[in-house]
Point group: C2
Chain length 363, copies 2
């Protein structure tokens, strides 16, 4: 099994770790000299659109995938002419464009916050009049981890906001007074078989994911799976997709999708019968999907900007250390820690102990 | 963390897989062109005693270990002069020599089957007179997986048996009419901290391990841990050691030790809060040891000589595939399959389903 991956960051790296049991060989296309996935395979150091590098990737691969969504759908479409390439380019195009994404939710009767397409300050003024404040203005493409967005709290924030975000295509999203955020990580095989891991509760700090805790038996699991299935089937999707939702009372509102393995699913490496990384590989390679059952109470804590003292963390029982081998920088995800426990009460104690040790630098 | 490993087989390979989260770098010394651990690090293709290769290994490593016991203890002692090298050479020397091993058990008051040192046919005749038949004649060194041994059932088997096994130093072991075999995999840190995984029940086919099933709460766990602690402390051991025992009624008789990660501990990769491979790394690198709790009912099945149909195995829920990337050959361990389940009953069903698919060629 030879897997070609566009992108060579930590998601690619963990994908390769999951492939070891299949004796899979990986080739990563990534322009960065220090792409951290390079440890686990061949690293083609070239731009995403470099024709010779894409040829080399094709020559090295039986199947091609990507590990981040800032690659152009055109590149995926080009690769798909030569090799099975999953997820499909159309899914990538939809996920990269907030308006296309929200429009898909609407067309599939999936509830979502109020949203408007903004291509001018006039569009923005009209949308604010309809949706009201507070609201969140976001670029249609290329935003992540809270970047490329602005919260509009009062009328004074609205004037000039279109220009402030670069006068690029935007969307305005109605503010949701949610109770908490959850994500559903799901996987769909080439044959349409679909599995989902338990809904995972996500807590953010300064717009960056801080903690993810799977919640098996969550009352909203069936509804989330139903929404996910609609999206996956509509896109004829193959591979792992993450769905972020707002939970407000018993309402579940779609926020966004990511056409790839997802930070909120990292707990599945140790905590599930099959991890998101392994099932992504199984899906794109056309193998049967694995069980998504949670094995034990667990949670994941992100390491951002700086590592806590390693020995102190490892002294807390049930901790697993994930150093991505990236240079630390404020606001940069450089690792994560999974915490496992035989019961929920002990999980809470262990999590509290690890939280106290974190020295994250969010920038 | 730079780890040098003498040996480059599947145990080294899985050690490297466990090191990924620590961003560890591996160098393997193995004369085989196709050493399967080479996928995960630098491969020095040279004989174990090649001076230049040992220099290169030292230059590449902060800590050195070995992944099989057929390396000479002298090599480990030499490495230990230049780098921390674990497990200690003395432990390796003891485990490689069945007579030294049994003598250690005796000196530590650990019960074991009747045993005699055999250096001639006369020794053998005398030992048979004392121990009785049936009994098992084994080479003192270099035997594994049932190789280098002969069962003596009746008087006719005794004559010439010394010559038949090569007229090398041997031991005669009294035959134990055991109920089943178990192993305890334990780990001891540089600071003496010791942890053990649950006792694991092992079933063999033609002398080759077939199935290993961890049994948390086994009545003999405390006694096995006591015996293991005696051995580990006596050898001032650092790293993972496996202890094989015969269970006969409520008796626990020591069979042998292996100074390394062990086939009967492979279930811990997915089934325990920390795997034997990760804890071996933590131990030799001087990090705090991780929890050895079992996360869920599970068992491991060896793949010997030939792989079963992969898709059929993966279709059974909770299965995890481990292909070591080795050329299949009758009697050769080329992979294993871990089976996980939410309860013991489902585990049994899933195991039965996978067992039916196995096409092992034991040679």
């Amino acid at each position: 099994m030879r897997i070609g991956v566009v992108g060579g960051g930590q998601l690619g790296r963990m994908l390769a770790e999951a492939g070891a049991g299949f004796d899979a060989r990986f080739t990563f296309l990534d322009p960065s000299e220090s792409a951290c996935a390079g440890l686990h395979g061949r690293h083609l150091k070239a731009d995403w659109s470099d024709a010779a590098a894409l040829e080399a990737l094709i020559a090295d691969s039986d199947v091609v995938t990507f590990e981040f969504e800032n690659v152009s759908p055109d590149v995926v479409a080009t690769l798909a002419e030569r090799r099975p390439a999953f997820p499909p380019a159309e899914a990538l195009a939809t996920a990269r464009d907030r308006w296309a994404e929200k429009s898909l939710f609407r067309s599939l009767d999936i509830p979502l916050p109020a949203v408007a397409k903004i291509d001018s300050q006039a569009d923005l003024d009209a949308a604010v009049a309809e949706i009201g404040l507070p609201a969140v203005l976001k670029t249609r493409t290329l935003g992540y981890d809270g970047k490329g967005q602005k919260v509009l709290r009062e009328t004074a924030d609205v004037a000039g906001a279109f220009a402030e975000l670069g006068a690029v295509p935007l969307v305005l999203e109605g503010f949701v007074d949610f109770d908490h955020e959850v994500s559903l990580v799901a996987v769909r095989g080439r044959d349409g078989d679909t599995r989902a891991w338990p809904l995972t509760r996500n807590e953010h700090r300064q717009g960056i994911l801080h903690r993810s805790t799977p919640q098996p038996g969550h009352a909203l699991q069936p509804r989330a799976e139903d929404y996910a299935q609609r999206v996956l089937d509509a896109l004829d999707y193959v591979g792992v997709m993450a769905f972020e939702f707002f939970v407000s009372g018993d309402e579940l509102l779609a926020n966004e999708i990511a056409p790839r393995v997802h930070n909120s699913g990292h707990w599945s490496i140790e905590g599930a019968a099959t991890s998101q990384f392994e099932n992504h590989l199984r899906a794109i390679a056309g193998l049967p999907l694995g069980s998504t059952e949670r094995l034990a109470p667990c949670a994941m804590l992100n390491v951002v900007g700086a590592f806590p003292e390693r020995d102190a963390v490892l002294t807390v029982p049930g901790t697993r250390w994930h150093d991505y081998g990236k240079a630390p920088r404020p606001g940069r995800k450089i690792g994560h820690i999974t915490v496992l426990a035989p019961c929920e009460e002990q999980l809470q104690e262990r999590l509290d102990a690890v939280e106290k040790l974190l020295v994250n630098d969010l920038g």
